[in-house]
């Protein structure tokens, strides 16, 4: 009789709680990558996750580690509070673009500027998902949302704010990369980037953020496959992928 070998199993970095995300949304993939990184680096049992406000508000139920749930936009402040009293633990925030780039932009910039040794997982899908598809600070020019029904008018509301580019100007940021999970090649790049960000935190190199250009098929009004294509064809030209800062690479 042939021996049974395990080829694949769900990461121990996630609980068994069913995810609350919509079909075709990339939050699930990103959760998996984060959880796998925590397991691979053997840091899961000293990690504290910060759930933010938005679709990922329940992420404290999904990551299989200690967690805190932050008020809207305050994740980086809460992470700072924890990390300063527990400097040897691993602390990460998991935030969407409304939470991080709009209401929480001050907390994000100042945490980066202080070089807080935390990791920020920034899921940018250019829309407010949980509240039903309103315009986000990262919505694309002309993008139709429930609060920009004729398409985002950049003369009236400004253009999509580019967080990675902004944070790259800050000296104390250690690692900054924008990735996507819209196809297998980019998925592997994203996996590597997320793991590297946590590796940097483990090595106490300072602030790291991975921005993941992401989908929201339901509120974009698209089928999942079309949403993946929209990431590739519409979002990435506005939010180009790549490494914006890598202090490790600079030093080595």
């Amino acid at each position: 009789m042939a021996e049974t070998t395990v080829k694949y199993e769900k990461t121990k970095g996630l609980t068994d709680k069913p995810l609350s995300y919509c079909p075709g949304c990339t939050h699930g993939i990103i959760h998996k990558l984060v959880a796998e990184a925590l397991v691979d680096l053997d840091i899961l049992d000293k990690t504290i996750a910060i759930a933010s406000v938005g679709c990922s508000v329940f992420s404290y139920e999904f990551f299989n580690c200690d967690a805190q749930q932050a008020p809207h936009g305050r994740a980086c402040a809460e992470a700072t509070g924890i990390k300063r009293v527990l400097p040897d633990n691993i602390v990460f925030t998991y935030q969407g673009d409304g939470d991080l780039a709009s209401i929480g932009i001050a907390e994000t910039i100042h945490a980066a500027n202080r070089g807080e040794n935390i990791t920020v997982i920034f899921v940018n899908n250019a829309i407010y998902g949980m509240t039903g598809g309103q315009m986000a600070p990262t919505s694309l020019p002309g993008q139709k949302t429930t609060t920009s029904q004729n398409g985002r008018d950049t003369d009236w509301t400004g253009g999509p704010i580019k967080i990675s580019e902004m944070l790259a100007t800050i000296d104390s940021v250690a690692y900054l990369e924008r990735v996507s999970v819209h196809d297998p090649k980019n998925y592997l790049k994203a996996k590597k980037a997320i793991k590297k960000a946590f590796q940097y935190q483990k090595e106490k190199r300072g602030f790291s953020m991975i921005e993941i250009v992401s989908t929201c098929p339901v509120n974009w009004g698209m089928k999942p496959v079309d949403a993946m294509n929209w990431v590739k064809e519409e979002m990435i030209p506005v939010f180009p992928l790549g490494v914006f800062k890598d202090k490790g690479a600079d030093n080595e």
Partner: protein, 356 residues
Amino acid sequence: MAKVLMKGNEAIALAAIKGGVDAFYGYPITPQNEVPEYLSKHLLANGKVFLQSESEVSAINMVYGAAGAGARVMTSSSSPGIALKQEGISYIAAAELPCLIVSVMRGGPGLGGIQPSQADYYQATRGGGNGDYSLIVYAPETIQEVADTIKESFDIADYYRNPVMVLVDGLIGQMMESVDFDKPIKERFLPEKDWATNGTANHPGRRNVANSLQIDPNALEQHNIHLQEKYNLIKKNETRYEMINFDDPEYVIVAYGTMARICRSAIEMLNKEGIKVGMIRPISLFPYPEKAFDEIPKNAKGILCAELSMGQMLDDVLIANNGRHKVGFFGRSGGMLPDPEEIVDAIKNFSERVVK
């Protein structure tokens, strides 16, 4: 340590260190700046955490994080700054995390002024944050009482897993008095913080989560019932007040903090004139010392609520009095402090002061 002469704000800071504070997060605002200034020097020198945040909003959320992680943590601010902290305070109370919030009141509303005031009684006892929550609020009168209260507040916060607010005004923050920092505080049995989010390595087999989200209305109602039960226990155990000159008084003044100090002088002057006036001095504002009002003689002519506001504690006085006596009000605001003679006059012309 013998008695030392110390400024109120610095005494707050030193008392916090004596009380075992691990971390301070805050943002500058007058008239409480000596608190963070003193702590920045002395906490960092002792391997503890002092961090100046980018805003009050951020500071209170740093407190939330550190409290959740199990640290003894505090912030301090003044009126408009405490307004900005209300969101985080509601979350901390909801998640049942212990911390100390020092509020050094100045005149309002809006940017108001920087002179002493008691116009944030509602803010402290009713809260500006959302939902059914309460802080434990103490309003000490002397710098010695400030130091004792601050020291003990960490234990009280830990015991009940509830934020404690120590409420003073800019006068107490800025004046100097002699203080003994070694006065013993009540010993309490404090359970281990086995709920702290400090990594599952510290508590294998159990994930700890600091959270205020309850999407199931049933669960949220149960949580609110649990909180109310806790607040009732706090009412039973932690109500504090002082009865002053309560020898068959004709009139009773109710005042706290700086206003109570001014009223003490007024009471002496009135007694010399043969008018017997006593005072209820609430030390805990939540829980409010309602039972003290049962000690007011039936034939007393009235109760004068005196505040450095346009009448906020007055609500609690009316509730506690429950229609038994006439209640009058005397208030100054905007940072103006009355002379004791003004209180004397208010008692002598009590009928003009009656509100109910």
